[in-house]
Symmetry: C2
Subunit: 233 residues, 2 copies
């Protein structure tokens, strides 16, 4: 692992709560692995063996049922996934696949649970992490139930624009069909949603999206802090 990546992992809210020694113990037990794009890392229904940390690349969390598939979330560096399943020692509800060449840190579930028992600040950080994840999922649920697909896309674009520096340009983090599934629609529908947003100054060319007039798009999107904003702190 590159030094800066290791530092980024250490700097995760979750791991900042750990003392140096406890952190080192976790890392000693962990496996650093590289994967090409398109590798299924986890299949739902498997037992939770490892907490996963995305050090580099992109991981798609997805779920299937009776032949249908949807994207739940995208995990980018430095982010973790499968914490809830690891803690409850249960099967995964989601599958995971790499979307790009990726580097992952796999921490044995048992070690995570042991560290939690031994280090109170770590357990406290886990509480905060889980509460955040829960609230973030509730926001997703609200977006799905209260908005049309074009509105979901518009608000996703506004948030991505802000997170990517506010230049009015967005680089999509994945293929459009994955974004479509993430937002709860078909690829065709996403294409048409983009087309309809051109009336509000949205132009999409390949993986680059340009927003010419933020306030015009915002008027249409009607962003709601209780759906679109991340929790503070």
């Amino acid at each position: 692992m590159r030094v800066e990546d290791a530092a980024a992992v250490r700097d995760l809210t979750l791991f900042r709560s750990l003392g140096d020694e406890a952190f080192a113990q976790l890392m000693d037990a962990a496996y650093l692995q590289r994967f090409p794009p398109g590798v299924v890392l986890i299949s739902e229904n498997e037992r939770a063996d490892f907490l996963h940390v995305v050090v580099e690349g992109t991981v798609e969390m997805f779920a299937t049922s009776h032949g249908r598939e949807t994207t739940i979330e995208l995990i980018r560096p430095v982010g973790l996934f499968l914490l809830a399943a690891v803690l409850k020692d249960q099967i995964y509800l989601q599958s995971a696949r790499t979307l790009a060449k990726s580097q992952l840190l796999l921490i044995p579930a048992e070690k995570v649970r042991m560290a939690m028992e031994r280090e109170l600040p770590f357990m406290r950080a886990i509480v905060m992490e889980l509460a955040s994840d829960y609230r973030s999922t509730i926001r997703d649920l609200k977006s799905l139930k209260l908005r049309t697909s074009a509105e979901r896309l518009a608000n996703w674009l506004l948030r991505a624009e802000a997170e990517q520096g506010g230049s009015g340009q967005i680089e999509l983090p994945c293929e459009k069909r994955t974004l479509a599934a993430r937002l709860g629609m078909t690829p065709e529908n996403l294409s048409r949603a983009f087309a309809s947003l051109s009336a509000y100054g949205v132009q999409s060319k390949g993986s680059i999206v340009a927003i010419s007039d933020l306030s015009r798009l915002s008027d249409f999107a009607a962003p709601d802090p209780l759906i679109d904003e991340r929790d503070p702190s």
Copy 2:
């Protein structure tokens, strides 16, 4: 509070983790209140002041955005809500209203956080509770994204039937329009979904639903353990 209700609260997984003294301290600081039906207990966007425990009655968690409204969850005795917002000391993402004459225990947020700091088993129980809530919300999200409305209803019915004792009869826990919102559809659409399920042996009369042939309904519903089953333990 009736003696048996008090015992039921004490018996919640979350509170079983507390010692008698710590539990008593929480209860001393808590308020027991009765509410008629239709009272809004919490409005989203308010600061999280109390952890709420439903001792009696029914509470609907709902969310609104720009004039639209949907139901997120129903809380029945003995259940709690708003834990994540309380722990993160953030605003609520959901509103809450009573659907029936209800009795609630309001525990000051600050006391909950203090108890968590002082009692390790309580914090551990909170971790498990949050992980469960998160996973349960992921299940909901999958159901919404992977199923049609009739399928969601069919699977909801199968689960309700099992939880209510497996008699083939279900008593709806709320008005149909609330169930409709819970399942992510309009009341009219729910009516039609019920009508279409009559082909699989579902008869609905008022708040009673009868399923004449579980396996036939199950064939249509295609229940998926990773969506419909509660976490074990």
